[in-house]
Each structure stands twice: as structure tokens, then as C-alpha cells.
């Protein structure tokens, strides 16, 4: 119960931050991808840099380790398809939900597409691809 509540609160904080940074605005995402405005790219790079230091501190103090993320047959192609979809819809998976919360109801279409696309890939992988992604967890 406590764990679920905490999960929900982190979700709320994430949604709020994404909204305030501007990731929920199609126009802001477009300006990021066309390098018309570097603000969100800088925000993203800053987050990665701060996290890189944070993981080292966490690992050194708690001894925590994390499963590696390996390159597999779907990494490059999957990433490429995702980027094209992000530029078109203005949304990565979390963004569609935050946009809906903000009252951008068109994001409902995006969300339907995301769930359908995820479902479609699982069928395609099961029928034809069947390669190992290097992990038993789907994260």
C-alpha cells in the first residue's frame, strides 16, 4: 500500500516536471529537434550528467548494482522508429499521459497508438523475430 502510494507520488512529480519543462508541448519538442531552442536539450543533458554522478555515489555508498542494458537486434531499429513517432506525435510514452492531464485531449489518440504499437510489436516479435534482448525483465 505504502509502496503504491509512493509510486503514484513519483508519477505525479514526474508528470508535473515534464509539463513545466515543456516536454508536453508539441511546438517545444519541435523546436528542440530542429535546434531552434536548445533549452530542453540542455535540460536533458544536465539530467543525464547529474544522474551519472548520482549513480556513482549511490553505488559507492550502498553497493547497488544494476543489470546491464545490452545492444540487441532491436535496439537501433526500435530507437529509430520511436524517434520518428516522437517527432510526429510530439510524445514519448509518458508525455501522452501528461498531455491528457493538461487537457490536450488529442493525446488520447497518441495513447491509443502507443498501446496498439506495443501490442503489435509483441505479436511481431513472438511470431517472427524471437531474438534475445539480453534480459528477462522488460524495462
Amino acid at each position: 500500500m505504502r509502496e503504491t502510494a509512493v509510486t503514484g507520488l513519483v508519477g505525479v512529480g514526474f508528470g508535473f516536471a515534464l509539463s513545466r519543462i515543456g516536454f508536453t508541448s508539441w511546438d517545444e519538442v519541435h523546436r528542440m529537434f530542429t535546434f531552434a531552442d536548445l533549452r530542453m536539450l540542455l535540460a536533458f543533458a544536465t539530467a543525464v550528467a547529474v544522474l551519472a554522478v548520482s549513480w556513482r555515489v549511490v553505488s559507492a555508498t550502498t553497493g547497488a548494482t544494476w543489470p546491464p542494458r545490452r545492444i540487441h537486434q532491436g535496439t537501433l531499429a526500435g530507437g529509430a522508429l520511436f524517434g520518428a513517432g516522437w517527432a510526429l506525435s510530439g510524445a514519448c510514452p509518458s508525455i501522452a499521459l501528461v498531455q491528457l492531464g493538461e487537457g490536450q485531449l488529442g493525446a488520447g489518440w497518441t495513447l491509443v497508438g502507443i498501446v496498439a504499437g506495443n501490442w503489435l510489436y509483441s505479436v511481431v516479435h513472438e511470431r517472427w523475430l524471437r531474438w534475445s534482448t539480453g534480459s528477462c525483465l522488460d524495462e
Partner: protein, 196 residues
């Protein structure tokens, strides 16, 4: 809506990703949660009895005896204490709560900005001028969404898992995926810019 400056945005995203791990002991992941929900819809609940670590070990010893002989198991020394606590699985309810939380975060942000009035499409000048009106807008959003859903599952991660958490740990798969989605994001956006 006023947007945060780059440094505040960076610190905010890092705080969420780090906070998620510290509180839930799991890496921030959004597409993974969608995958878990889709798998549950496709395959139904797993046949997983609620077993403690000790019960798992007892059952494992029994099965080892069946498969490889009783003598071997009786000679086995007592197990040492586990070095790492067992990985606890996020429940399907937890996935829905997290995704619902994202939407609530959007509601709170819009309410504080006094911009709760819903719009039928997206609050975007460029998108509306490119695709707005009629069926084209929704079709582009569904098609884009399908690419996002298909691609993130194929690459086993999205902007959170690969872009934020994986790239910051210099994981090869995450670096390749991040370069790939930023690369095609730039190319497609530049093409759309020409059309606009």
C-alpha cells in the same frame, strides 16, 4: 505556461529518476510499464504463488533432489544470507497508479497555470497548421503513437529507461537507442519544418 530554465529542468528530471530508484528500488521506466500492462491483457495473470524467498529455496531443494538425486541435496551446506534483497516485482496495480500519477501531474501543472480548459487536439500552433482540422490530426497522432509504442518495445526502453537512466550509466544499448531516437527525431522534425 512559463517553462523552467534548462538547469531547473535538468535537476527536476534527475531528482525524479533518482527518487524513483531510492524509493522503489527500480529504475524509472515508462514503456516497460506499458509493456507489462499489454502483456497482462494478452496473457492474463501469471501463475505465481505468493512465495517467500525461504519457500522458494525449499521448493528448489526439493526439485533439485528430484532431478539430480537426494544425496547431493542432503550434503549441501546451509545457505549463506542473501547478499542482495530479492528483487520485488512491481504489481500491475502499481503500473496503473504510476501512469495515472503522470496524468495527475499534468492536471496539477495546468491548474496552477490556470490553463485547465481542455482542447480537442493539441495546444500547438505548428501541429495544428500542419495537420489540424478534420481527420488528419488524429490519424497522425495515432500513427505517431504506433511508431512510439512499437519502437520503444522493440528497443526495450524509451526516453526514461534508455535516455535518462541507461545513458547516464553509459550502457551500450541505451547509448545506441538514445542516439537512434534523437537522430530520427531530428530528421523527421526538420522534414516537417520544411513542410510547415
Amino acid at each position: 505556461m512559463e517553462h523552467w530554465p534548462w538547469w531547473a529542468g535538468g535537476l527536476g528530471l534527475a531528482a525524479v529518476a533518482l527518487g524513483h530508484w531510492l524509493l522503489a528500488r527500480r529504475m524509472l521506466s515508462v514503456s516497460g510499464r506499458i509493456t507489462a500492462i499489454v502483456d497482462r491483457l494478452r496473457h492474463g495473470p501469471p501463475e505465481e504463488p505468493d512465495m517467500s524467498r525461504e519457500e522458494m529455496l525449499a521448493a528448489l531443494r526439493e526439485m533439485t533432489a528430484e532431478e539430480y538425486g537426494q544425496d547431493a541435496v542432503e550434503a549441501a551446506p546451509e545457505p549463506p544470507a542473501a547478499k542482495t534483497p530479492a528483487r520485488s516485482r512491481a504489481s500491475i496495480g502499481g503500473h496503473f497508479v504510476f501512469l495515472g500519477g503522470l496524468a495527475v501531474g499534468g492536471v496539477v501543472s495546468a491548474a496552477l497555470a490556470g490553463a485547465l480548459e481542455p482542447v480537442a487536439g493539441l495546444r500547438s500552433d505548428v501541429f495544428e497548421s500542419l495537420f489540424g482540422g478534420g481527420l488528419v490530426g488524429p490519424l497522425v497522432l495515432v500513427a505517431g503513437g504506433v511508431l512510439v509504442g512499437f519502437g520503444t518495445r522493440m528497443a526495450t526502453g524509451c526516453t526514461s529507461g534508455h535516455g535518462l537512466c541507461g545513458a547516464s550509466r553509459l550502457q551500450p544499448g541505451s547509448l545506441v537507442a538514445t542516439c537512434a531516437f534523437f537522430g530520427t527525431g531530428v530528421v523527421v522534425s526538420l522534414l516537417l519544418g520544411v513542410l510547415a
